[in-house]
Symmetry: C2
Subunit: 353 residues, 2 copies
Amino acid sequence: MSTEGSRRRDVTVADVAKAAQVSKAQAARALGNYGAVSDDVRERVLAAAEELEYRPNELARSMNTGKSNTIGVVVGDIENPHFGLAMRGITDTAKKSGYHVILINTDEERAAEVDAVRVLLDKRVDGLIVAPASSVHTAHLQQLRESGRPLVLLDRAAEGLDAEAFAVDMTGISYESTKHLLAAGHRRIAFVSTLTSDKPYQEGMALESSQIADRLDGIRRAFEEEGLTRPADLVRLNAGDAESVKKITLELLDGPNAATAIIASDGLIALGVVEAIQESGRSIPDDVSFLMYDDFAWTRLTTPPLTVIAQPVYEMGQAAASALIRQIEGRRTSAPSPELAARLIVRGSIGAA
Amino acid sequence: MSTEGSRRRDVTVADVAKAAQVSKAQAARALGNYGAVSDDVRERVLAAAEELEYRPNELARSMNTGKSNTIGVVVGDIENPHFGLAMRGITDTAKKSGYHVILINTDEERAAEVDAVRVLLDKRVDGLIVAPASSVHTAHLQQLRESGRPLVLLDRAAEGLDAEAFAVDMTGISYESTKHLLAAGHRRIAFVSTLTSDKPYQEGMALESSQIADRLDGIRRAFEEEGLTRPADLVRLNAGDAESVKKITLELLDGPNAATAIIASDGLIALGVVEAIQESGRSIPDDVSFLMYDDFAWTRLTTPPLTVIAQPVYEMGQAAASALIRQIEGRRTSAPSPELAARLIVRGSIGAA
DNA sequence: TCTAGGATTGAGACCGGACTCACATCGATT
DNA sequence: AATCGATGTGAGTCCGGTCTCAATCCTAGA
């Protein structure tokens, strides 16, 4: 109907060659800028290419160079600003080196992740950046590793997997910030995470996420160092959607053994927790203290502004991308990976217990 | 050093064929599930494929089917949650139809956008979703359109470009919310946008962005309907980074002709404006009223919660993706595009002038 | 028993580039 | 004038699939 005379076939080197009256091989050389080509031929070919609006088919090129100049990124949820920012770091870095990025979202589901990795491999990406949904079930990544394709991990480590991981030292920062809470007199410190789990949390339980495990570890160590025991009943998992976050928050604040401080494991949870606190008529930090991971700009705008754990997310993305590209191009580590340290930014959401 | 015996060549149909003792053609048929294949052969081939862990090379497949099952997405800034959410809508929808997504960031620079489009075309994506940096300079999109490749626009329209655009009716919602402000007694209403421009805004000036133009149009209409004139001096462009946003905000609030209400054109600007207002010791809505575009969760957490214009961003992404896929697959419009209406959510940031 | 017509099958072309190899061409060397 | 190495050049292969085409195999109907 509106298709202007059937989508015309793409212009190929052969077409250019014919127009320039040279062999396909010569045209390819002139276009690809390799081999020996006389000035005369080069000019004619380039002119013809211009004239015909020739554009190389990257697919064909990839096929026999074996390089697609594309890296695959697998994350749990691009809607989460944490990943949005990391993604920005990745794409910026990739672009600088001439790589492009294919993004796949997994909704933090392992099956989707397995599938994503396979799909990207089938598309022959040059390497992958994965934020693994699980730090334990990593068979698919292990396999990927063995196939020889470059892989780096983002945000989380994976057990027994020989791959560079770009994440901050969670145990350390968690320890440090728990100390901060303890110093303010808090003992009933709650931790709320999206991490899914069949059973409620209990001491010593194995966790799917290294990140969460490390954070809990940091908390425990801080408590122990003071000769105290971390209240395991205040560790809450499965805070999937806003509804469950709110429900959990209210539970934590209820009863004689209520929490006096809550740590939100990420920005999405933080929103739910703070909203639930406000809706229940309580105030931060008078009724309950609050600490969250990730320093989003909006955390400065609430009353009071929120005390947060800032992670260099953009830099993590950058670092992951450059490390991956380095691997792809077979270069040995040039510069040691940058620091990637998290830090506690004290604002107004933590008060005395 | 650790490369386990040189990255082994990929397994191809030819390998599978040999293992199954059939011709390459038969193996391909069994694997690709087309043509006629006897049960016996099919079984042997499938078994051999399994055994050898055969995985088809999508690049090769794409090359002679002419389909890459990939769509390209070009946005200004994936770090902006607005696009993060839209992206989520796009990837979710794409996945359902078996498409994958290549993302390119342009930093809202036209040159980068032109380049992005070309690159995606070279990669032979099946179609593109573009959030055009400019609604005026659209030669590259025009060209794309003429090449016959499916294209849909996201978030913004482009002048004289025959392509479906998925965006809300900006003029309408802008008109409506300005009425709301006027009803509260505001006359000095400011509008702050990132849109870059050589000259400061002045009445009747042509703008690069249809989106902003429409919003200003809505504001103007609302004023005119009341027999008033929209104060053009309060329209501020070039609010690029947080610094300039703050500077502009302070300017707007200063002097005898200060603004009594500020409209922030997007979430990033909103953060800067609100922060500047707070830092200058003023309060919302007592000293100045505030309205912003996009209903992010954090807008409910500030004191007071912010009055916003909610856009169905996720749905816009979904709609854009399904429309594009429909085009790619040559189907005629089945369902009419969903509504995509923005709405004013009144919370506490608008008071009497 | 013979045969038409569908089911199977293998050889090979093809997609669009990159690249190998053998064969000129040509000015410089001796 | 014969020789040599450095270009130039075109024919043709290859990458890993899809797909056409002609040949072969079967089986039911006559």
